[in-house]
């Protein structure tokens, strides 16, 4: 029982990180109607940037976010302008290919610069732990969870309490109508992509401390993130957060109760059952996807 409880707590803590990464992905889908297959590669890029910065400047991995988040924001803005904006027709299908190409390019560049060996971000709290009840929790999971929660709160505040957030939400609801009332949807899209990248940078730090990664790590990551946002409902931030928690908690409990090799299988079963009942996902809106 203690084991199950421990697994559940750990699942919630790590679920926070996936919630942050998935919300960037679902935000990008919501605003631009594109599937960013490169999101996993951008998280890995964020992890490598923090890795390089913390090595070069001898600073804590979390502190590197002061540098990497703005850098990733600008990079995302640039990527959107150069590669996503030119797609005028058949956006959904072509965006899969374009962002996949971005992922491949990043994998190649990272492999060239850093090599194919696994690396991991180092900090004093990556193995240190504290007792809680009958088990111990490693500090990094708590710090990561708090960081991701804080960024998620800021993200929600931007979206729901600022004028710019209102124009992002308007663009998500109806791009044409948003354009008609004078919203610069191209700018909104580029900024939204930048925000998505900045959250990927933050997710990348926590991912990089808790997991050993290499340039090819993005395949596993993106498959998990995509299934999270489908379960939550494409374009729904709330759905992404809840689905991420469901995924990580179910995985951690399964690996304790049954076996680690079946961990993600249970999540897929949940996904299938939900999609049989609600093809649009937990919080998705049933819309005509092409008008």
């Amino acid at each position: 029982m203690t084991l199950v409880l421990e697994a559940a707590v750990l699942g919630i803590l790590t679920g926070g990180v996936y919630a942050l990464m998935a919300s960037g992905l679902t935000l990008i889908f919501g605003v631009m109607r594109i599937i960013n297959v490169g999101h996993g590669a951008l998280v890995v890029l964020g992890a490598y940037l923090s890795f390089a910065a913390s090595r070069a400047l001898h600073i804590d991995p979390f502190v590197t976010l002061v540098i990497t988040m703005p850098v990733m924001f600008l990079l995302g803005f640039g990527l959107q302008v150069v590669f996503i904006r030119p797609l005028k027709t058949d956006r959904e299908a072509l965006s899969v290919l374009v962002t996949y190409a971005i992922a491949l390019g990043l994998e190649g560049i990272l492999g060239y610069v850093f090599g194919a060996n696994y690396v991991q971000l180092q900090a004093w709290y990556d193995t240190a732990s504290f007792p809680i009840g009958d088990f111990r929790i490693t500090y990094v999971y708590v710090f990561g969870f708090v960081l991701c929660l804080a960024i998620l709160v800021v993200l929600f505040l931007i979206l729901y309490r600022t004028t710019f957030g209102a124009s992002i939400r308007a663009t998500m609801l109806n791009r044409t109508a948003a354009q008609l009332i004078g919203i610069d949807v191209d700018r909104v899209s580029a900024v939204a992509f930048g925000i998505g990248m900045a959250t990927a940078a933050a997710g990348g730090v926590v991912f990089g401390i808790t997991t050993a990664f290499n340039p090819g790590s993005h395949y596993d990551l993106i498959s998990r993130l995509l299934t999270i946002i489908v379960l939550g409902g494409l374009g729904s931030l709330r759905g992404a957060v809840i689905a991420a928690l469901i995924m990580l908690v179910s995985e951690d409990i399964t690996s304790v109760v049954i076996s680690p090799v079946w961990a993600s299988f249970v999540f897929f079963v949940i996904l299938i059952v939900v999609l049989l009942v609600r093809p649009q996902g937990l919080y998705g809106v049933r819309v005509r996807e092409r008008i």
Binding site: A93, A101, G105, F268, L276
Partner: protein, 326 residues
């Protein structure tokens, strides 16, 4: 009228010439390095054509074909005679997956099929008795060898590529194909005018899967060894989609052209720059250029260029005819 006929004659002549070259290739260039490239190129002609039946005429699943290819590999244990059985097995599996996955549409469908790929890969790794687990499966080594090792595989792949093309051509000219094109353009309107969209999509999916499964069977025998991670190799699956896009989505000749251009280029890059991982960057660059510069593909773009020229020449021709008539 005569213009159309002469156009058809060119087409038939070109087709025969290409077919003759394809059939005689092992005799023209018998060295194993060349025939190895030829086997893979013809394999991708078949794969891209098969994917086009589903992705180009109807809707897109980017990864499932790859998965089915893998299952086909597992099915194609014994030499080529079992290949049709591999096709049937993958078709049966595709029927089940398709029935479920096609409840969702567009973006969700793409992602659900990705999820399916990872789930079945997980099964493949864990059901050790059936698939050999993470260690993979070995195929029996073919009884022939030496310089002619590649030749039977080349003809097997060529036969499957031609079969895919024949089926693709038949579908294109049928009411079924028309329905698929309607679904691609606007699924809701297609449903409204009475196209049985779900049944059509499922049929296209299953046909496509059967072809990919058969090609996968031959492929597994050719490389003699398969293992679950292999499915992750990013370039195999997405290549066939890129080839279709490069040549022209929803056209008959597009996937063939795309495969013939891209596969040798890809093999060249992988052989020469594979060690440094830089070939991924080259490949990504090719990818981005194709999509940003030629999003419609080569065949439709060239077709439009020709029809534009004809349209410009068109009005003057009847005018000249009128001037002569009285």
């Amino acid at each position: 009228m005569s213009l159309a006929r002469s156009g058809d004659a060119w087409k038939v002549g070109g087709l025969i010439a290409v077919l003759a070259i394809a059939l005689l290739l092992p005799a023209i260039a018998p060295d194993p390095a060349t025939t190895n490239v030829a086997v893979f190129t013809v394999m991708y002609v078949g794969l891209a054509t098969a994917w086009n039946i589903m992705g180009g005429y109807g809707f897109g699943s980017y990864t499932l074909g790859l998965l089915l290819a893998r299952i086909g590999m597992a099915g194609g244990y014994a030499p080529f005679l079992i290949v049709p059985a591999a096709g049937l097995a993958t078709a049966a599996l595709a029927l089940g997956i398709g029935w479920f996955a096609l409840r969702t549409r567009a973006a969700t469908f793409v992602i659900v099929t990705i999820a399916f790929m990872f789930m079945l890969q997980l099964l493949a790794e864990n059901l050790v008795g059936l698939t050999g687990g993470g260690g993979g499966l070995s195929y029996p080594v073919p009884p022939w060898g030496g310089d002619y090792f590649n030749t039977p595989f080349y003809y097997a792949m060529l036969a499957l590529a031609l079969l895919s093309l024949a089926i693709s051509w038949r579908i294109r000219r049928s009411k079924f194909g028309l329905g698929l094109l309607a679904i691609r353009d606007d699924e809701d309107k297609a449903l409204a005018v009475g196209v049985p969209t779900r049944a059509f999509k499922l049929t296209a999916f299953v046909i496509s899967a059967a072809l990919v499964g058969m090609i996968g069977g031959v492929y597994g025998y050719y490389v003699t060894y398969i293992y679950p991670q292999f499915v992750i190799d990013p370039l195999i699956g997405i290549s066939m989609v890129l080839m279709v896009f490069l040549g022209g989505l929803g056209t008959l000749t597009g996937p063939v052209l795309g495969a013939v251009i891209l596969e040798p280029a890809q093999l060249y890059l992988a052989y020469n720059y594979g060690a440094s991982r830089l070939y991924l960057v080259f490949y990504a660059a090719v990818f981005l250029i194709v999509i940003l510069v030629l999003p419609r593909g080569i065949v439709p773009s060239v077709g439009r260029l020709i029809s534009d020229r004809r349209a410009r020449a068109g009005p003057s021709a009847p005018a000249a005819a009128k001037a002569v008539a009285p």
